[in-house]
């Protein structure tokens, strides 16, 4: 997706420039190149050059294939709700809800059961009962294994 790459590349250029400036401003302990800022500055300069290369290479690519109109169409198609992206949005929202809403609300174990049941139903192509059953079973297995074998506390 050439157009997307060019856009992101330009964003990178701005981003790395900002980080570079932050790096230059880091304090000196004797000499700049042995100080905290040295390595970030080197990295950001390299990243700026590489991002520039990326953007230019893709622009050249674009001109050769004379695909600008094509690419704009593709880009807007990217953002329209296709079946695939719907699934991605669902699983992302579900995961975020699991971590930031369900777990504080219900405790990790129950939240896990809920998360598994719902996502298995949405994506697993099995009926509700099997979803719940698998969800509960896996949660129990995980809980036992981590708590008693590995001695790890569950997230809060």
């Amino acid at each position: 997706m050439l157009l997307l790459e060019i856009i992101v590349g330009i964003i990178f250029l701005i981003f790395f420039l900002y980080l570079l400036i932050l790096g230059i401003e880091m304090p000196e302990y004797g000499q700049f190149w042995v100080s905290p800022g040295a390595f970030p500055v080197i990295l950001n300069i390299l990243l700026l050059l590489l991002s520039l290369w990326w953007v230019i290479a893709q622009i050249i690519n674009l001109r050769e294939k004379k695909e600008l109109k094509n690419q704009v169409v593709k880009l807007s198609a990217l953002f329209s709700a296709k079946e695939e992206w719907k699934r991605l949005v669902f699983i992302s929202v579900l995961t975020l809800a699991y971590i930031y809403w369900l777990t504080p609300l219900l405790g990790f174990s129950i939240a896990t059961v809920v998360f598994l049941t719902i996502s298995l139903k949405l994506f697993g192509k099995i009926n509700w009962l099997k979803c719940t059953g698998v969800g509960v079973l896996i949660t129990i297995l995980i809980y036992l294994a981590f708590r008693y074998v590995l001695n790890l506390p569950m997230p809060t």
């Binding site: 174990s109 129990i140 809980y143």
Partner: protein
């Protein structure tokens, strides 16, 4: 609708789930400690701090009844480890093996923490400084070292900026009126000794226990160590032999203790203190100290806190007066010794 078998299955699963949650609730009201404790070691593995921490760990586990997990967290001259433990909840589940650097990280600008932020459980051992050099070097004695340093600025491997070994070499240079060396912080006493071994630096300063194996194996030559009496096995001359003026400083080096953040509930601190006392007084620990040329300090509780306060005064002002530390101890209300 639902077959009776599946219904049974579901019921069984729900019962188990309830039991699990219940046990979770039940254990929450039990006594401290209920789960494993994290022991943070703010230096790399193999060094004095690490060795002492890992020796005390199983002994304290016996008393406390829960596993203690030791985790190395080197960096920023122990400021990373210090900050991590301080930021963790003050509930006794995160403890810190505290080396001397707590006396210097504030004035070195590496941290805002000082000894006042900690309940010092105790100071277990003192680690005298030793000067080690590669056997191929043309410098063969501590007196020669001073002579060479008059003309040349040497590169010296140390653990971290402002650490005990930095103070040792800076003191040496100042007392003999020679050039202050270029310090190369290697992240620990043992890595510093290795740097000398690999000829990355001209000289290294570290704790005696951290380099003793390499000295025994003849991979490093010990020019002198900052104590009063020669060490016999392997032979390491005392610095006072060549430089009697150092008698007023020795033994000089670092110490290692244990601490937990201020604000931890008193009953938790008491239990930790108990476990710590048990560990340091055990034969196993005393043997470990003797075998590795550590000096036992054996202070705990309030005595230890006083010791650390005095140590802070001495070290912070030494570093500031020598020009190594950029910030004045006055900014942290550290009185002159």
């Amino acid at each position: 609708m639902l077959k009776s078998l599946q219904l049974n299955w579901l019921a069984g699963a729900l019962v188990i789930l309830v039991l699990i949650c219940w046990s979770g609730v039940a254990s929450a009201s039990a006594e401290w400690p209920q789960r494993s404790i994290l022991m943070v070691i703010p230096f790399n593995p193999g060094g004095a701090t690490d060795q002492i921490g890992r020796t005390l760990e199983p002994l304290m586990e016996e008393k406390l009844g829960v596993p203690i997990a030791a985790q190395n967290m080197p960096g920023g001259a122990t400021s990373i480890g210090n900050q991590y433990v301080f930021d963790a909840p003050h509930d006794g589940y995160t403890i810190l093996v505290e080396p001397t650097d707590i006396t210097s990280i504030a004035v070195m600008g590496q941290s805002k923490l000082t000894w006042r932020d900690w309940n010092i459980l105790g100071v277990a051992a003192a680690v005298p400084a030793v000067f080690v050099i590669h056997p191929d070097s043309s410098i063969k004695s501590i007196a020669e070292l001073a002579t060479v340093m008059k003309e040349k600025q040497l590169s010296v491997g140390v653990a971290a900026s402002g650490c005990a070994w930095t103070r040792a070499i800076s003191l040496f240079a100042k007392e003999n009126g020679v050039k202050q060396p270029m310090l190369v912080p290697m992240g620990g006493g043992h890595p510093a000794a290795l740097a000398a071994l690999k000829k990355e630096v001209d000289l290294a300063v570290c704790g005696v226990p951290e380099a003793i194996d390499l000295i025994k194996g003849k991979k490093l030559t010990a020019l002198a160590y900052m104590g009063a009496e020669d060490i016999q096995e392997p032979f390491i001359p005392a610095i006072t032999k060549a430089f009697p003026g150092f008698n007023k400083f020795v033994p000089f080096g670092g110490w290692v203790g244990m601490a937990v953040a201020k604000g931890t509930p008193a009953n938790v601190v008491a239990k930790l203190q108990n476990a710590y006392n048990y560990a340091v007084n055990s034969n196993k620990f005393k043997e470990f100290l003797a075998e590795n040329n550590f000096l036992e300090v054996g202070l705990s509780g309030e005595d230890a806190e006083e010791y650390v306060a005095v140590s802070t005064s001495v070290n912070a002002w030494l570093l500031y007066d020598l020009g190594v530390a950029p910030i004045s101890p006055e900014e942290f209300e550290i009185p002159r010794p």
